[in-house]
Amino acid sequence: MTGPGGHADTSYLLDASGPAAPPRDNGELTFAAPWESQAFGLALALHEAGRFDWEDFRRRLIAEIGSWEASHPSGEAWSYYGCWLSALERLVSERGLVGGDDLRDRAAMIAARPPDHGAPSQGPPGHRHDHPQDMAPAPSGASHAD
């Protein structure tokens, strides 16, 4: 199911309605912050790379939503992509792709960057913040669209 963009049209993976459905405005996906769209794209890209079955991710997403429902701190606002991110972190950890310690250490490294680098994921979509000392160069994208 390949669209003209060069990668598969994956919109069928997303639930149209129900608790696991991403937030929409008049049918279109909405993201409240750049990190939300980044988490969204990351999950789809990992799936396209064959790192997991979508159903495995979806199950974890539903479980995260359920456990938030059951035991979130009172006053904490609902965040669909917060649950999405937690589900993704659990899944990549379980699959051995990235360990919990690695994530913690990397997050600390990023947080310790000098302020003039700007906060993480704050740029517009497409903005990449490359640090040669801690990120490998991106492989040339065979699936780069347009």
């Binding site: 129900g18 608790p19 696991a20 929409r24 008049n26 199950r59 939503i65 359920g66 429902e69 609902w78």
Partner: protein
């Protein structure tokens, strides 16, 4: 069933809402969220038609209110139908999650329905030829459906013209109740607006897809 969902031609809803945004997902869900949606639907052995019928059975006020996601309520109907989770369990769990005391009843006995599938999707091939041809005048039957149907009230007992023969499909009236796929020929049938709404109607035509059991010849 002649439920709230069958709203073609119903009056009193006011102006169409051109660009209203979808309800936000920031609602704190009530205990019905316990029956988490679509996983539950699969667990209940359902199909698309049974799911639509489950949504259609949501009480009218709740169907229209938008306060509950009616798909989620439909999912709960399916779970109850299949004996996977009962409405009483959901209510009790909701009460307990809200900090109230409630005794949770024992879980029901699952009785997931079995229905043989003729293949993926809903399109089917039939050995028998269609009863009607393009250009035929047909009359819709006066159904009194207790269960699921896709013949809306506003086109019953009306005369129209077949404008296309569509692919044969799984019959929703049967499949929604797990009585079998019973695939039927389907026709695009066109009705004049005054046939549906009387001589004062705006001039237009209405075309609707109708399954063969909904139709009879005009003479």
């Amino acid at each position: 069933m002649d439920g709230i969902h069958d709203m073609g031609g119903m009056q009193g809803f006011g102006r169409t809402m051109s660009a209203r945004a979808d309800p936000p997902f920031a609602e704190p869900w009530e205990g019905k969220a316990f029956a988490l949606g679509l996983l539950a639907i699969r667990a209940s052995g359902t199909n698309l038609h049974a799911f639509r019928h489950a949504i259609n059975r949501v009480p009218p006020a709740e169907y229209l209110s938008g306060y509950f996601d009616r798909w989620l309520m439909g999912a709960q109907n399916l779970l109850a139908d299949s004996g996977i989770v009962s409405d009483d369990e959901v209510a009790a769990r909701a009460a307990r999650l809200s900090g109230r005391e409630a005794e949770e009843p024992p879980p029901p006995e699952p009785h997931k329905p079995e229905m043989t599938s003729g293949g993926p999707g809903n399109l089917r091939s039939l050995g028998t030829p269609p009863a009607f041809a393009v250009g035929d005048a047909v009359r819709t039957r006066d159904l009194d459906p207790a269960g699921h149907t896709r013949l809306p009230r506003y086109v019953r007992r009306r005369t129209g013209t077949v404008t296309a023969i569509l692919p044969a499909q799984v019959f929703p009236d049967s499949a929604a109740h797990f009585l079998g796929e019973d695939p039927q020929h389907v026709y695009a049938v066109e009705f004049a607006s005054d046939e549906l709404w009387g001589p004062g109607a705006e001039p237009f035509s209405l075309t609707i897809d109708l399954y063969e059991p909904y139709l009879e010849p005009t003479s």
